[in-house]
C-alpha cells in the first residue's frame, strides 16, 4: 500500500506501523463520571466496518508523524490522510 503523507508525499506502507481505530485519539476524561466504563469502551470496544475506516498509522521509519488514514477496508482505497495532531486539535484536544 501507499500512504500519501500530508508532509512527505506518497510513502510505502512498509515505512509505517499500524495502530488501529482513530477513536483512540478521543481519550476520556479521567475525572469524568463513570470514567472506568468510559475507559473500558475507549480501550476495547471497536466497530469493524466493511467500508471506510479511520485509523492511526505511525511513520516510524520516517518523520514520526502519527497519521489518521481513512481507508476502505474492502478495497484498501485510501480516501484521506491527515496529521493526527491536526485531527486531535480539531476534536478540541489541547493540554
Amino acid at each position: 500500500m501507499i500512504i500519501d503523507h500530508p508532509l512527505l508525499g506518497p510513502r510505502d506502507a512498509a515505512e509505517f506501523v499500524y495502530l488501529g481505530d482513530a477513536r483512540l485519539i478521543d481519550r476520556p476524561d479521567w475525572q469524568g463520571e463513570d470514567a472506568a466504563r468510559q475507559f473500558h469502551d475507549y480501550l476495547h470496544v471497536r466497530d469493524n466496518p466493511a467500508g471506510e475506516h479511520r485509523e492511526l498509522w505511525f511513520h516510524e521509519h520516517g518523520d514520526r508523524s502519527w497519521l489518521v488514514v481513512t481507508r476502505n477496508t474492502l478495497t484498501h482505497e485510501i480516501i484521506r490522510v491527515e496529521l493526527a495532531r491536526d485531527v486531535a486539535l480539531s476534536l478540541g484536544r489541547s493540554r
Partner: protein, 982 residues
C-alpha cells in the same frame, strides 16, 4: 549431430551445441532450447512420475503452466527440485533428473499405487486416516511423510545469492507478446517511463511460436525488431526472464527476475531478484493458456496441448512425434496440423468434436469430424488412440486443444472476479480493476493476432491519456485475422479408462463427480476435497475443465457454478528469493554498542537482546563454566568495583516548557516536582492499568529531561510517547527525540566506584557523597574536557554511577575506566552478573514486567498517584487488580542451598497435588547468589508478604524438579539500601 526429432528452421542457434545430462544420459541441444525442447528433440518422452499414482508423465505444455514435466536441476547444494522442464533454459553442462519414483523412472515400484486407485479416490485421506486413532502417529503419519513431496531438497544451504529491488515507472506492461509489444511501441514514443516484463527469455510471446505475419513480415522477426527498437529507448526497461507474480495495492507489483538461472554458475551475481514495482498504470498482456480435453488415458506421455506441439515445431524446430494426431474443439487447434504438415511432420489424423466442414485441407490425414477420442494406448508413452466408433489409429503424439483461457490471474489479486464470456467459452477479466490496471490482447479475450495488436495499441493510448501524456502517433501494427471459432467441449463422456484433469495431483473427472455427489459442490470445497488445482501449477490447465464438469453435474451453467479466484504468486517463487539477503546472520540488522569491539577483544560471550548484541560475561583463562565467570564478576563488583556497558537501554530526550507535565502523565508516579539535578525511578502503565515499563528519568534543566527505558521496550515506549504527545495532548509544549544511539553509557558499581571515577573526572567537579548524593545527576567532563553526563543511580545495590559520553567516545571511555580501575582490581561485567545483582536486590525486570502484572503485584502500588491523570491510572484501580489476596512479588530460597531453582516453576502448598486448582503462583527469575551462597528466585505468590517464613514447593514438570522453598523478602541483599547511599 541433431536430435532425432529435430526439424528445420526454428529460433535455435545451430552453430553451437550444448551438452547436458538427463538421468545421467548424455544429450545435446542448442542455445535457444529449453530443457523440454531438447529432451523432445532427443526423443525423450518419459520425464517423471505423478504425485499420487506414480503414473508416467511426459511434457504437456511449452510454458510456465506445465503441470507434468517436473524435474530436478543441478546437483549438490545447488539441486533444485520440482522445476518445470518447459521453462528451464538449456545451458552447457546442465544436469537434470527425473523425480518421484522408487527404483527407476521406467520401473517405478510406487506405481503400485495406481493399482490401488479405486481405494485412493477423492477424500481418501479424510476417510481412511481417521481410525483407529492410535494408528495416526505410529503408522499413518510416517507412511504419509515417506511418500510426501515430489523432488528432493539438497538439505544444504543454498550457495547462491538472492536480492530484492525496487523500481518505479509510469507504465508497466506485463507480457511481451503481440499485445504487449504493440502497447510498448505505442507508449514508448510518448516519453513515459515504461517497464516491459516477460517471463520468457525471448520476448514475443506467441509470435515466436506461430507462423503469423505482422506488418507483412514474419511475426517472430517483427517481434525481434520491435524488441530491438524498445531496447534502444532510454526510458524503456525491458525485463525478460521476469515473471510478474502478483498485483498488490495501489499499483504495486511483485516480479521475480531470474538473472542467472540460465547460466552454469552465478559468478557472484544475484541468481534471482525479487522486484517491487511501483507503477502509475499497468497493462496486463499475459496472453492465454490452452486447455485440454478430458478423455480416457489423456495423461499418457505423448498427449500434449496443441499449441505446445506447434511451439516446439515452429520455435524450437522439434517434432513432438513422428505420427501426430490432433484432437480439437476449435479452429485454432487446426493450425497445429497445418504447421506440422508444413514442417514435414506426418499428421496422421484430425479429430474434431464439431459437426462441420474441415477447417483445412490435409491430404495425408484421416479427418474425423463430429468425432471423439475415448481411449489411448501405450505404456510409457502413447502408441495409439481409440475413437468413439471403435476405430484405432496408431500415433506417437496427440495434440489436444479444448480452446484457450485468458490468463486473468493478476486481475484477481485485488479481489476482482473473472466473468464468463460465452462467445469464447472462457473466463475474461472482470471490470473495475484497481491499481490502474487494464487488460489487453488474449488476456482480455482478444485471441487473434490482429485483435491482440490492435488491443495492445489501444490500451497503451488509453493509459497514456490517463497519465496526461499526449498519445503517441503511429498506427497499430497489423496482421490478418485468423479463424478462431470454438465450441465449448470439456470431456468425452464415453471415455474408457480414467479421464484426467489435474496431471500433477492425479485428479480425474470421476473424482470431481464423486466430490460433487458427496456434497462438496462449491468450487472452493471441490478444490480442497479433490486437491484439484492445488499442485505447483495451481491448476492452470485443469481448473476451468473441472468447473465445467461440476456445472454439468449440477445442471447449472458455469456462471451459476462460479469460479475460484487466483492469489499471488502467478508461478512458484523460491523461498530464497522471498528471503533475499535476510538469512543467517543477516536475517535482521544487528546493533552493536560503541565498545563492542573492546568487549570482543576481551573475549566476551555475547547474547542477543532485541537487536543488540550485549556482553553476557567475560571468561578468564581457566574458567570452564559460565558460573565461574559470573560469580567472579559479581563478587569483584560487590567487593570493589565493576563496569558494565548499559548503552542499550532506551534513552529519550524530552524538552519543552511542558516537559515535566508531560512526564507526569506518562509515568504513574509524579515527576512535576523533581528537582533539577535529580533522577527518579518511574513506572509506566499501559492504558489498561497493567505495568508496562520502568526506568529512570533525570532532570537536566527546568525544561529538559532524559529518560531511560528498558532495552526491549525502547522503540515501543518512544512510539507511545509520540502518540500521547501528538494525539492526546497536542497543546503541550514538549518535544521528544530518541538518543539511544547518541550516548554510550556505562554503569560503574561497587564500593570503589567513586574513587575510580574521581581519577577520570576533571578537577572542577565534586562527586563526594555530600555534593553528589544518591539520585543526583549532572553535566560533567572527564579525561581533560570530554563532556559527559553522570547519574548516581544503582541497579546493583552498590554505590554506583552511570556515566554517559557521546557515542564516539564510548570505546575510549571504557578503556579509560578499565585502566583507571586496575589499582582497584576493577572488573568488566556482563548481563548475567547484572541480572544476578538485580535479583539479589529484588528489582523487577522483563520477567516480572511481563504484561500480566500490576503495580500492586510488584509492590509498587504506592507509586501510582491518584492525584493526577496519567496513562493507565483509571483502569489500574479496577478491584480485581487490587485484591488483598492477590499475587505479590517475593523472594524464594531453597531449604537445601545446593538445590537449584528454575524460572517457570509453579508454587504449590506442601502436600498439595500439582494441579491448576492448587496453583499459588510462579517463579519468575532465578540466579545463584554468590553473596548468599545459594540459588535464589523472585516470583509471585498469593498474599506473599503475610507468608514470609512459610515453606512451599517450587514444582517444575518441564525440568522434573520439585524443590521445597522458603518465602522471604525479595530484597535478599542489603535490604535497607545502606550500601548505595555511602
Amino acid at each position: 549431430m541433431n536430435g532425432p526429432y529435430r526439424l528445420d528452421g526454428g529460433a535455435i542457434d545451430r552453430s553451437r551445441r550444448l551438452a547436458f545430462r538427463f538421468d545421467g544420459r548424455r544429450l545435446t541441444g542448442h542455445p535457444g532450447d529449453t530443457l523440454a525442447s531438447a529432451l523432445l528433440a532427443n526423443g525423450v518422452r518419459l520425464v517423471g512420475r505423478s504425485f499420487k499414482y506414480h503414473r508416467p508423465r511426459g511434457i504437456f505444455t511449452a510454458g510456465s503452466e506445465e503441470p507434468s514435466a517436473l524435474v530436478e536441476l543441478r546437483s549438490g547444494a545447488c539441486r533444485e527440485p520440482n522445476t518445470r522442464a518447459t521453462v528451464a533454459e538449456l545451458f552447457d553442462g546442465l544436469e537434470a533428473a527425473s523425480q518421484n519414483y522408487l527404483g527407476s523412472l521406467r520401473h517405478d515400484l510406487l506405481a503400485v499405487n495406481d493399482l490401488l486407485a479405486p481405494f485412493l479416490s477423492a477424500g481418501f485421506y479424510y476417510k481412511t486416516f481417521m481410525w483407529p486413532k492410535s494408528f495416526w502417529e505410529r503408522v499413518y503419519e510416517p507412511a504419509i511423510r515417506a511418500s510426501a513431496g515430489l523432488g528432493r531438497l539438497s538439505g544444504e544451504p543454498d550457495p547462491d545469492r538472492y536480492d530484492k529491488g525496487f523500481l518505479h515507472c509510469d507504465l508497466l506492461i506485463i507480457g511481451a507478446g503481440p499485445a504487449g509489444l504493440a502497447a510498448a511501441l505505442a507508449a514508448a514514443r510518448s516519453g513515459a517511463r515504461i517497464i516491459v516484463a516477460d517471463e520468457d527469455f525471448v520476448m514475443g510471446g506467441r509470435l515466436n511460436a506461430e507462423t503469423h505475419e505482422v506488418n507483412g513480415r514474419c511475426g517472430r522477426i517483427w517481434a525481434a525488431d520491435a524488441v530491438r527498437e524498445l531496447a534502444s529507448m532510454e526510458k524503456v526497461r525491458l525485463m525478460p526472464r521476469t515473471t510478474v507474480i502478483g498485483a498488490f495495492d495501489h499499483g504495486i507489483f511483485g516480479a521475480l527476475e531470474r538473472c542467472t538461472d540460465h547460466l552454469a554458475a552465478s559468478d557472484g551475481k544475484p541468481r534471482q531478484v525479487l522486484w517491487r514495482l511501483y507503477t502509475k498504470r499497468a497493462i496486463l498482456c499475459a496472453g492465454a493458456t490452452e486447455r485440454p480435453i478430458a478423455f480416457g488415458g489423456n495423461d499418457r506421455p505423448g498427449v500434449m496441448l496443441a499449441g505446445a506441439v506447434r511451439t516446439y515445431a515452429n520455435r524450437f524446430a522439434v517434432g513432438a512425434g513422428r505420427r501426430v494426431g490432433l484432437f480439437t474443439t476449435n479452429d485454432d487447434g487446426w493450425r497445429t496440423a497445418v504447421d506440422l504438415a508444413a514442417k514435414g511432420v506426418r499428421v496422421a489424423t484430425v479429430i474434431d468434436v464439431r459437426d462441420r466442414e474441415p477447417v483445412a485441407a490435409l491430404p495425408d490425414a484421416q479427418i474425423r469430424m463430429n468425432s471423439q477420442v475415448t481411449a489411448t494406448r501405450g505404456r510409457h508413452g502413447l502408441n495409439g488412440i481409440v475413437l468413439a466408433t471403435g476405430e484405432r489409429i496408431a500415433l506417437d503424439c496427440l495434440a489436444v486443444s479444448g480452446g484457450w483461457n485468458p490468463n486473468v490471474h493478476l486481475t484477481c489479486h485485488q479481489g476482482t472476479r473473472p466473468v464468463w464470456r460465452e462467445a469464447i467459452a472462457a473466463f475474461v477479466p472482470g471490470d473495475r480493476l484497481s491499481g490502474g490496471m487494464t487488460v489487453a490482447g488474449a488476456a482480455a479475450g482478444a485471441f487473434t493476432t490482429a485483435a491482440a495488436l490492435a488491443d495492445g495499441h489501444r490500451a497503451a493510448v488509453a493509459a497514456l491519456g490517463a497519465l496526461g501524456r499526449p498519445a503517441a502517433g503511429g498506427a497499430p501494427p497489423t496482421a490478418s485475422d485468423e479463424a478462431a471459432d470454438v465450441t465449448p467441449f470439456w470431456h468425452v463422456r464415453d471415455s474408457r479408462g480414467r479421464a484426467w484433469l489435474d496431471l500433477q495431483n492425479d485428479v480425474t473427472v470421476k473424482d470431481v463427480v464423486q466430490s460433487h455427489c458427496e456434497g462438496f459442490r462449491s468450487a472452493e470445497l471441490l478444490k480442497r476435497y479433490t486437491t484439484l488445482g492445488m499442485a505447483t501449477d495451481q491448476g492452470k490447465t485443469a481448473n476451468v475443465l473441472a468447473l465445467a464438469i461440476v456445472a454439468e453435474q449440477s445442471g447449472r451453467t458455469i456462471v451459476e457454478t462460479g469460479t475460484t479466484v487466483f492469489r499471488p504468486p502467478y508461478t512458484p517463487v523460491p523461498i530464497a528469493a522471498l528471503g533475499g539477503r535476510a538469512r543467517g546472520h543477516d536475517f535482521r540488522p544487528v546493533r552493536l554498542t560503541p565498545s563492542h569491539d573492546w568487549a570482543e577483544r576481551r573475549g566476551a560471550v555475547f547474547v542477543e537482546a532485541g537487536m543488540w548484541l550485549r556482553a553476557q560475561w567475560f571468561p578468564l583463562p581457566g574458567e570452564s563454566h559460565w558460573r565461574q565467570s559470573v560469580d567472579r564478576e559479581v563478587l569483584q563488583t560487590r567487593g570493589s568495583v565493576g563496569i558494565c556497558d548499559v548503552t542499550t537501554l532506551g534513552k529519550i530526550d524530552i524538552q519543552g516548557r511542558d516537559a515535566a507535565e508531560f512526564l507526569n502523565r506518562i509515568y504513574a508516579n509524579g515527576f512535576a516536582r523533581l528537582a533539577v539535578g535529580k533522577v527518579r525511578y518511574g513506572l509506566m502503565l499501559r492504558e489498561d492499568g497493567v505495568a508496562y515499563d520502568d526506568g529512570t528519568t533525570a532532570r537536566l534543566g527546568d525544561h529538559h529531561f532524559v529518560m531511560t527505558t528498558t532495552t526491549a521496550n525502547a522503540v515501543l515506549v518512544f512510539r507511545n510517547m509520540e502518540f500521547a504527545r501528538q494525539c492526546l495532548w497536542p497543546g503541550l509544549d514538549v518535544h521528544l527525540i530518541s538518543v539511544t544511539e547518541q550516548w554510550a553509557q556505562y554503569a560503574v558499581a561497587g564500593p570503589n566506584s567513586r574513587r575510580l571515577l574521581e581519577k577520570l573526572l576533571d578537577p572542577e567537579y565534586d562527586i563526594s557523597n555530600a555534593a553528589f548524593p544518591f539520585m543526583a545527576c549532572g553535566d560533567i567532563s572527564v579525561c581533560g574536557g570530554t563532556p559527559a553526563r553522570l547519574f548516581r543511580i544503582s541497579f546493583s545495590g552498590e554505590l554506583a554511577y552511570e556515566i554517559a559520553v557521546a557515542a564516539r567516545y564510548g570505546e575510549a571511555l571504557m578503556e579509560a575506566l578499565v585502566a583507571a580501575g586496575e589499582e582497584f582490581d576493577a572488573v568488566a561485567y556482563g548481563t548475567e552478573a547484572l541480572g544476578v545483582m538485580r535479583i539479589e536486590k529484588g528489582h523487577a525486570a522483563g520477567n516480572e514486567l511481563n504484561g500480566q502484572t500490576t503495580a500492586r503485584m510488584l509492590g509498587l502500588q504506592r507509586m501510582v498517584s491518584k492525584k493526577k491523570d496519567c496513562i493507565g491510572n483509571v483502569l489500574s484501580e479496577r478491584p480485581a487488580m487490587n485484591r488483598e489476596d492477590g499475587l505479590e512479588l517475593m523472594g524464594f530460597r531453597p531449604l537445601d542451598p545446593t538445590e537449584e531453582l528454575t524460572a517457570g516453576a509453579h508454587l504449590l502448598a506442601l502436600g498439595a497435588t500439582a494441579e491448576t486448582a492448587n496453583d499459588e503462583g510462579w517463579i519468575t527469575s532465578v540466579a545463584y547468589s554468590p553473596a548468599l551462597r545459594s540459588s535464589i528466585g523472585l516470583g509471585f505468590i498469593r498474599e506473599g508478604h503475610a507468608r514470609v517464613g512459610e515453606t512451599v514447593r517450587a514444582w517444575d514438570a518441564l525440568q522434573g524438579k520439585d524443590v521445597p522453598v522458603e518465602i522471604i523478602s525479595p530484597h535478599f541483599y542489603d535490604p535497607d539500601g545502606e550500601r548505595l547511599r555511602v
